[in-house]
Symmetry: C2
Subunit: 99 residues, 2 copies
């Protein structure tokens, strides 16, 4: 998933604020199983995105389990749009080369 991880994570959280486990699950489901991110992929990435000011987090306890809910910051939303543009450019370029 090299290079596109941030895009996926930001987009999944943009839909609605989620905790890490739910982010992975949402991505797995909406991609129909094609993209199945391990937790060891998701958590460090979320931590990094928060460190970069693109996400903010807050703890919540639900049914005895603690969850760290992430939401997009303003910068995160801007970054998401940028990622989307880059994704479009990238796929267009690959398409042009390979057809």
């Amino acid at each position: 998933m090299k290079g596109h991880l941030d895009f996926l994570l930001l987009a999944a959280i943009a839909r609605e604020p989620r905790h890490g486990y739910a982010v992975a699950e949402a991505i797995r489901k909406s991609s129909d199983g094609a993209i199945d991110l391990a937790e060891g992929t998701v958590y460090p990435a979320l931590y990094r995105l928060e460190g970069a000011g693109l996400l903010s987090s807050s703890w919540k306890t639900v049914g005895g389990r603690r969850r760290r809910i992430y939401r997009l910051t303003r910068r995160g939303r801007r970054r998401l749009e940028q990622e989307r543009n880059e994704w479009t450019a990238f796929t267009n370029a690959v398409q042009a080369v390979t057809t």
Copy 2:
């Protein structure tokens, strides 16, 4: 270009047999500059693809300059089709997650 390099190279050579320098150039041009592979990216990759039996090569000298012309093997053509399918599945999956 992580993960998609082989697809690009195979596709470029599938159009017509080329030498390394021309492969990079063809990709740069057909992507309108969006994908600009360094030679240090291209040559090791071609070497690897040949080692994997997906490409075969032959030397040719043109105007005092030696060129190593690559062409797809049968396995290379099969692999290209596989790469194409994976690319489609991948983009569909990302699209589904991010829209």
